[in-house]
């Protein structure tokens, strides 16, 4: 065991895979010499050489498009989008090819690649650096989308993502890159993608969340406990595929569900999860599903961001309302 934050844990996962698999290459803007703007790839170029860990020209479409070619040829590229707001030039390559090649070629061409991308708000950043647009990506048939909430999960999930034969969008909650430290097992382990994690058991309300919002929910759970309300917390971990079984099992037990996500409300992940609860556990529901989410607005610049982000009060407010429904 070693104490690690999420940056260390992701770096460790990359290190392990670069070490054991020659087909793994890592590239993106500033990931080589500098080790990435968040230092996630620090030290890897020195260790594995500039043909395996390198800086690319400044072009997201170029980065993802070339990774598709490499992956078809048998490499396992792991590419970095510097910030969530800059993935859009690559959208065409993701939606038109990465997500389709396998189906288009009837399984002949696989695209085993990982697109890593820091996402989410709460870091007082400039425009385009704070979005949480998981719903857009979850909506793309052929793409898998995951997001860890702890260093331990980040390492195990990233190793699984690298070993997967599909294209995985690996969303990293940059707000908690360094905020959480925990003991992480040394050496290799995997966490299966598509499986949610029940973080805490409860009987009155189920909360489903992921990524950086888990910490905010945990603070709200403390408030709920003081008010005598028992909350079950599910960390989704995988946005697509989504773990219906864990969600429905929990809702059948509690009868109430709240989703907590950072992205805008409409057509978001909260709606998807609520619908799963309705389809799978309709007769157990004691209240309509509730979404705690961003508003349908652009994430405000730092001075206005607190109006947008989910704070523990916003979550507790809904917990209190749903149990009284």
């Amino acid at each position: 065991m070693k104490i690690m934050n999420m940056v260390n844990a992701i770096n460790d996962a990359l290190d392990i895979k670069l070490n054991e698999d020659r087909s793994v290459v890592v590239y993106g803007q500033d990931v080589g010499v500098e080790g990435g703007v968040f230092r996630v790839t620090e030290g890897l170029q020195k260790k594995y050489g500039a043909d395996r860990v390198f800086d690319s020209p400044l072009a997201e479409s170029g980065i993802v498009g070339t990774a598709i070619g490499m992956s078809i040829a048998g490499l396992r590229p792991i590419v970095e989008m510097q910030f969530c707001g800059f993935i859009y030039p690559a959208f065409n390559q993701i939606i038109s090819h990465a997500a389709r090649m396998h189906n288009r070629s009837r399984g002949d061409h696989k695209t085993p690649m990982v697109i890593r991308m820091p996402y989410g708000g709460g870091i007082n950043a400039l425009e385009h650096h704070s979005e949480s647009m998981e719903a857009i990506f979850g909506h793309i048939p052929g793409l898998k989308v995951v997001a860890p909430s702890t260093p331990h999960d980040a390492k195990g999930m990233l190793i699984s993502a690298i070993e997967s034969n599909d294209t995985i969008l690996f969303m990293e909650p940059k707000r908690i890159y360094r905020a959480i430290k925990q003991e992480v097992a040394e050496g290799k382990y995997t966490i299966p993608l598509g499986k949610a994690n029940v973080i805490s058991q409860g009987k009155d309300v189920t909360i489903v969340s992921f990524g950086a919002m888990i910490r905010e929910v945990q603070k709200a759970i403390v408030m709920a406990k003081e008010a005598g309300i028992s909350v079950e917390l599910i960390d989704l971990r995988s946005i697509y595929p989504i773990d219906k079984e864990t969600i429905s099992k929990s809702v059948k037990k509690t009868g109430r569900i709240i989703t907590v996500t950072e992205g805008p409300k409409s057509f978001g992940l909260g709606a998807e999860i609520s619908q799963i609860a309705i389809e799978e556990a309709f007769l157990h529901l004691e209240a309509p599903p509730v979404r705690v989410s961003g508003f349908d607005v652009i994430v405000p610049l730092p001075k206005g961001e607190h109006h947008y982000m989910q704070d523990p009060y916003k979550i507790f407010y809904e917990i209190e309302k749903i149990v009284k429904y």
Binding site: P57, G85, P300
Partner: protein, 363 residues
């Protein structure tokens, strides 16, 4: 002039050398002493503000900021020539050009303090807000250029991008569209040698960036971007080309980012002290200052005095921005659409109900 400096030959157009000596007398633009002095002072003001912002940032009084330090002559020359009715399409490292258009320092401060209000320019006409997604603004410039041509107006568009930005598809599409449309756009690449940590030579195998103009059938030139005169002369010629319907033009302005990429960056990770010192000798302000002193237009004493005045002015506007006040919650909703959907109004009301509840609980 553009023929003499065809980028295929990889010569850099220079008039004022590193020591402040005129090396191409025949090319020296005729600028009135008073105008030249004003240009120098504007650049000095921009530099004073820029350095001060970095220190405000260190004090935690402003968020992430991308310094302009070392690149002032490019914005300075644009500032000297851009007209009220010309469009300015910035990236995010063009303070001098923005100030010349009438953007106030206070507005820039507000932006970097985290208020969208800092992108609403009270005095500057025809100035687009700072554009963060690299190179995306170049296409807007082409659209603005088309609109000018369509209206048979005589105005111009000045658009900025960095060396890193030349790798994005949008850069190439913009120059290509503009070439096909023959529109009055002056595309300026500030080649400050780096895109964050990535040196220009890792962005492209081309021997220079101006050469990319050739492929799109437009005029291009590589110019010493730390030489105010060369920049001025290049822009003057570019304006002529655009006005005669022969635009667009692509200018590679060679410069150096003396500061960090942003205040969260540490250049010592990817470049050497020796390199920084070498470029320090090519500093745009030092150069112009030596020239002005040799012409008896300026003295060290005057400079010291005026910098003190500028510092006071910068600080005054900064404090004004600091006292701008809280961010009203309605502002996150109000500007989303020209016509706000009912559902969004409802989201705002729900937020108000929550805030009331929160106030009652946290008393």
């Amino acid at each position: 002039m553009f023929n003499n400096y065809n980028p295929i030959n990889n010569i850099e157009f220079q008039i004022l050398d590193h020591n402040g000596k005129i090396v191409a007398k025949d090319m020296l633009p005729s600028i009135k002493d008073a105008d030249l002095l004003k240009a120098y002072k504007d650049m000095l003001f921009a530099r004073t503000a820029d350095l001060q912002i970095v220190s405000y940032q260190r004090q935690g009084r402003i968020y992430t900021y991308p310094p302009n330090y070392g690149q002032e002559a490019i914005s300075g020359a644009v500032g000297s020539l851009i007209k009220d009715n010309d469009w300015l399409v910035p990236a995010f490292r063009e303070m001098g050009a923005m100030l010349a258009k009438g953007v106030t320092l206070k507005e820039l401060f507000l932006y970097f303090m985290g208020y969208e209000d800092g992108s609403k320019y009270s005095k500057a006409k025809r100035t687009l807000p700072i554009s963060v997604p690299i190179a995306s603004q170049f296409l807007h410039a082409a659209g603005l250029g088309y609109a000018i041509k369509y209206s048979k107006d005589k105005d111009l568009v000045y658009a900025f991008v960095g060396d890193g930005g030349t790798s994005e598809g949008d850069f190439h599409e913009a120059i290509n569209f503009a070439g096909v449309w023959k529109i009055p756009v002056i595309f300026i690449i500030q080649n400050n040698q780096y895109g964050i940590s990535t040196p220009t030579k890792m962005q492209t195998a081309s021997q220079n960036l101006a050469i990319k103009s050739i492929a799109y059938g437009v005029k291009g030139i590589k110019v010493d971007g730390n030489d105010y005169f060369a920049m001025y002369k290049t822009l003057q010629e570019s304006i002529k080309i655009c006005e005669s319907g022969e635009g667009p033009v692509l200018i590679e302005a060679v410069t150096y980012r003396k500061g960090a990429h942003t205040t969260s960056d540490d250049p010592s990770k990817y470049r050497t002290k020796e390199e920084e010192e070498l470029w320090d000798t090519k500093d745009p302000l030092k150069r112009l200052k030596s020239y002005l002193i040799s012409k008896k237009l300026w003295t060290d004493k005057e400079e010291e005095k005026i910098i003190e005045q500028y510092k006071v002015e910068v600080d005054r506007q900064f404090i004004e921005a600091e006292n701008y006040g809280p961010y009203p919650k309605e502002d996150i909703f109000k500007y989303m659409y020209a016509e706000m959907p009912d559902d969004l109004k409802e989201q705002e009301k729900e937020y108000e109900r929550f805030l009331e509840w929160k106030a009652s609980r946290t008393k």
